[in-house]
């Protein structure tokens, strides 16, 4: 059971975490976002732009640009698509599964609002069947919307009935990449493909498609309800709205925290997460994936919003923060995560397929006391060679984590290869 904490609570408010009970949702905050979207789709898109809503699945791409692109398409609504991406699979990220299970109507309403804004009649809730209970919950929630009068309003905007359905993903990590999600919805294996062209012009069956992370759609529903100015004000400084942070690792109170976007890492760890476990000092945090540059002690005061984290040399990603204390080995953690990436590499791009495996083998050797100084040289070479060599960002993520760990904590690696 995931601990849910933080404040203010919008996505995680009690009247929002109502499970599959549509009546309870509509008796509370439900319905307002979709009503606003169908009343004036262009104004709703403008609100999303003003609120500076960014993708919560890792890339932090401005949501309004995707919506505007699909809205500008010339094909009929029946050939435009919205995919709510709930594939979530990476270590340390556990926000989407909580929303899908406990606030499915928030996501559905966000997806329907996106459909209204983009003029898309196909809405797919793309969920990971490996998350126990999620697929059944979302299917039941979808069924409850049938014949609801708001869908008639939506039909009036679209010119045809909306087709809302659930698609169980493969459960594989690569399936969360947007082109892979499209391939999966088309019925194929979720191989990512090269971009451009982007999904907004060449998505499902070659048609304009918005692929949004489910938290992004949930945030969209919240902001359309509150209005862009009020939503913006929720953030700290320039940051806008709230965010879900998946906090794990060596903290006393791991869990899912909804906090103002731009909350500092220090506040997340020490004020909300209860501080470091076993009185150890903070060493580093693997952010959002864990597929980015590590933040060390000098990153504790970084504001956790997409732009500030980029300015600090890393990326916020999914908002996952895996905290590492002085009592925990960086090399072991890196070995574990690279193991994950090597297992998740889907195969078509040789540098990724063999490169992640090589990284994993070498790190495993170092972790189990059989590494040599030459292994460190090989690691460094690989992290220089591999980025950019795959269709998706998987191999880049793996190389980034290794390179960053080597750069920030060289002594841990060197101690282990000399320590024979």
């Amino acid at each position: 059971m995931t601990h849910i904490g933080g404040s203010p609570r919008l996505l995680t408010a009690l009247d929002t975490l109502v499970g599959v009970d549509l009546d309870a949702w509509l008796a509370g905050p439900g319905g307002a976002a979709l009503t606003a979207a169908v009343a004036d789709p262009a104004a709703a898109r403008e609100a999303v732009r003003l609120a500076d809503l960014r993708g919560m699945g890792g890339a932090a791409f401005p949501t309004a640009r995707k919506w505007d692109a699909v809205a500008a398409a010339t094909v009929p609504a029946g050939e435009r698509w919205v995919i709510a991406n709930g594939n979530e699979d990476e270590p340390g990220t556990f926000k989407d599964r909580v929303l899908l299970e406990h606030a499915p109507h928030l996501i559905i309403e966000g997806a329907l609002a996106a459909a209204a804004c983009c003029g898309a009649a196909n809405v797919v809730l793309y969920v990971n069947p490996r998350h126990a209970g999620v697929e059944a919950a979302i299917a039941e929630a979808v069924a409850q919307w049938r014949d609801h009068h708001l869908l008639d309003e939506l039909e009036r905007v679209l010119g045809e009935p909306v087709r809302l359905r659930v698609h169980a993903s493969s459960g594989l990590y690569v399936g969360g990449e947007d082109t892979a999600a499209i391939a999966s919805v088309e019925g194929g294996f979720p191989f990512p493909r090269r971009k451009p062209p982007y999904p907004t012009t060449h998505g499902v069956e070659g048609m304009p498609t918005v692929v949004n992370n489910v938290e992004t759609l949930a945030q969209a529903a919240v902001l359309l309800r509150l209005g862009a100015p009020a939503y913006r004000d929720l953030g700290v400084g320039e940051a806008s709205g709230t965010r879900l942070y998946s906090l794990s690792g060596d903290v006393i109170r791991p869990g899912l925290y909804e906090l103002p976007s731009g909350t500092s890492l220090r506040s997340l760890v020490f004020d909300h997460g209860g501080g470091m476990l076993a009185d150890r000092s903070f060493k580093a945090v693997f952010t959002g994936g864990p597929s980015n540059t590590l933040l060390a002690t000098d990153g504790l005061d970084v504001a956790l919003d997409p732009d500030s984290v980029v300015a600090a040399g890393s990326r916020l990603g999914t908002g996952a923060m895996i905290v590492i204390s002085e009592g925990t080995s960086i090399t072991r953690k890196v070995a574990e995560y690279i193991d994950f990436f090597a297992g998740a590499s889907c195969g078509p791009c040789p540098p990724c397929r063999t490169g992640t495996h090589q990284l994993s083998q070498i790190l495993h050797r170092i972790d189990t006391g059989h590494g040599t100084p030459a292994d460190l040289d090989t690691l460094r070479s690989l992290t220089a060679l591999l980025p950019g060599s795959g269709n998706c960002g998987l191999v880049d993520a793996a190389a980034t984590v290794v390179a960053s760990a080597l750069e920030r904590f060289p002594h841990e690696f060197e101690r282990q290869v000399h320590h024979r």
Binding site: G249, D250, R253, P254, E326, S329, T331, R332, I366, T368
Partner: protein, 539 residues
């Protein structure tokens, strides 16, 4: 707990006046004696566990302090330490460990036996009286089952008891094949039969023995078999201080300290088998202990921290007849076979006060009642009751040379002539009735982790019958060894780490427990060697 008793000289006079047929006094229902005097029934010295799978359960404070302790190692301490691979790791080379190692190795597994002390240095060698197995014509598995479950106050797992008694005859056959020489008697037609004794609280003579050093004889045979087996590697002076786990919480190996080279080492295995014995050297309730030096609950601590559930950890067995005098020999055991053969217990007034062959917990509680009520015997500040060996010898003149040879040696060490003078005895912390919850194959709730022997619980309920300990360790040692070898057949190399510690530390913080109290203890309190000392030497 004990008030001063009747001076020894007066007590011996009273005994002499009444022997060999002293009067019975104070026949009180067993349940009342247990409730009023058995340590398991007293709240004093216990606490409620706050962390782990048994949070909310009562537990002796000395044990709780260890169960609710922090690890001796940090992830960062062991990162990059060379990992050695094997199929099965057996932690603790006593009777259960050797049985498990031999069985696993016979199945083709590569087995590593890690001993904190030395191979065979264990409570197994302390087992004197014998081993139970239903091998006699008038006996049956059903009777053995019923005797065991009843003596355990119906608290034992029926499945585990059934598994144990079922294996009894086969365990005896296996031991004979390994070279154990059980006592025999001549039958009516001159045939050789296995000699059988009677255990307290049982309905049939079922104890098979090697005089009164059965455990030592079994351990001798097991040690030789282990040493000669090509599939087993044995390392002495190499205690396990923590278990290794992967991200799913599966046990994937062990953190070992080499006490000779003062180095921390990692062993990865497909199956880890804890056969670490009990907790007698924690001196629960400040009782003297019959246990060997290594009985410091290490296995309970390791398994509990990794997430395993324990059962009946508040229940211990107090052997009625540990020596109470002289002080240097307090806790040294006199086998229950002495009472089984007819030796009586008398108080300071020369009176019997209990049926000597009642279940151990009843006899011990009755003795504690005598001690609490001032009817016990006092000598040089030690308090106990008298075991009337002289009357037994008068009745069975050969018994000290034929059967109770350890008793005779012990009496000599005490400077007592056992043919003329009674021995002073008292209840002594002997056996941990509970332990880690296992299934019929020794599997715990933690994947990759098996337990067998005294560290495991659920078999004997809240009181164990004499002779069932040796059967338990061999039956479940062999079962767990077989299961571990089967699991090791996967030959999958899993990641090693200390993933179970994160949640564990959170639990300690939540409960407000100290983070600087570390365990396993490794050596008993009187050693003056703390586990922190041991780890400091490795840095």
């Amino acid at each position: 707990m004990t008030s001063a008793g009747i001076p020894y000289e007066h007590a011996v006079e009273a005994w002499r006046a009444a022997a060999p047929a002293p009067p019975r006094s104070l026949d009180v229902p067993a349940a009342d004696v247990l409730a009023a005097h058995h340590p398991d029934h007293q709240a004093h010295g216990t606490t409620t566990l706050r962390v782990g799978a048994n949070a909310g359960d009562r537990c002796p404070s000395v044990l709780a302090d260890l169960l609710e302790s922090a690890s001796l190692v940090d992830d960062v301490d062991i990162a990059g330490t060379a990992v050695a691979d094997t199929d099965v790791v057996v932690v603790g080379g006593g009777g259960a460990g050797c049985a498990a190692a031999l069985t696993a190795a016979d199945q083709g597994a590569r087995v590593l036996v890690l001993n904190k002390l030395r191979l065979g240095d264990s409570n197994t060698v302390m087992a004197e009286g014998g081993i139970q197995a239903a091998v006699a014509p008038e006996d049956s598995l059903q009777r053995h089952f019923a005797d065991t479950v009843r003596a355990g106050h119906l608290a034992g797992s029926r499945d585990l008891v059934a598994a144990m008694v079922h294996d009894g005859p086969d365990v005896i056959r296996w031991l004979i094949q390994l070279g154990v020489t059980f006592d025999t008697v001549a039958g009516d037609a001159g045939e050789v039969l296995m000699a059988r004794g009677r255990a307290g609280g049982t309905t049939v003579p079922r104890i098979l023995s090697c005089r009164d050093h059965t455990g030592l004889e079994i351990m001798r045979s097991l040690r030789e078999a282990v040493a000669l087996h090509p599939g087993i590697v044995v390392r002495d002076h190499a205690p396990v201080v923590e278990l290794l786990t992967d991200t799913h919480g599966r046990c994937t190996g062990a953190v070992v300290v080499d006490l000779v080279s003062n180095a921390v080492q990692l062993v990865r295995a497909n199956a880890v088998l804890l056969t670490t014995g009990g907790a007698g050297r924690l001196y629960v309730g400040s009782f003297p202990s019959s246990n060997h030096y290594g009985a410091t609950a290490d296995g309970l601590v390791l398994a509990y921290r990794a997430g395993a559930r324990l059962v009946d950890v508040d229940s211990f067995q107090y052997h009625p007849t540990g020596l109470a005098w002289p002080s240097a020999l307090v806790g040294q055991l006199i086998t229950e076979a002495a009472r089984g053969a007819g030796a009586l217990l008398v108080n300071g007034h020369g009176e019997r006060f209990v049926d000597e062959v009642a279940p151990r917990d009843v006899v011990a509680a009755a003795m504690l009642r005598e001690m609490a009520d001032g009817r016990a015997v006092e000598r040089d500040g030690q308090v106990g009751l008298l075991l009337d060996v002289p009357s037994l010898v008068a009745d069975q003149p050969e018994i000290l040379t034929d059967r109770l040879v350890t008793l005779a040696k012990l009496a000599a060490r005490a400077g007592v002539d056992p043919t003329a003078e009674p021995l002073m005895v008292r209840p002594t912390l002997h056996y941990q009735n509970g332990g880690v919850v296992i299934d019929e194959h020794g599997a715990t709730g933690v994947a990759g982790l098996w337990c067998a022997g005294e560290v495991a619980g659920g078999i004997h309920g809240r009181n164990r019958v004499m002779g069932n300990a040796l059967l338990d360790i061999l039956a479940f040692g062999r079962r767990a060894g077989r299961a571990a070898a089967h699991a090791a057949g996967e030959r999958i190399r899993r990641p090693v780490g200390l993933h179970h510690l994160q949640q564990w530390q959170r639990g300690l913080v939540d409960a407000g427990l100290p983070l600087d109290r570390r365990a396993p203890l490794l050596f008993p309190p009187e050693s003056n060697v703390t586990p922190d000392d041991v780890m400091a030497r490795c840095r």
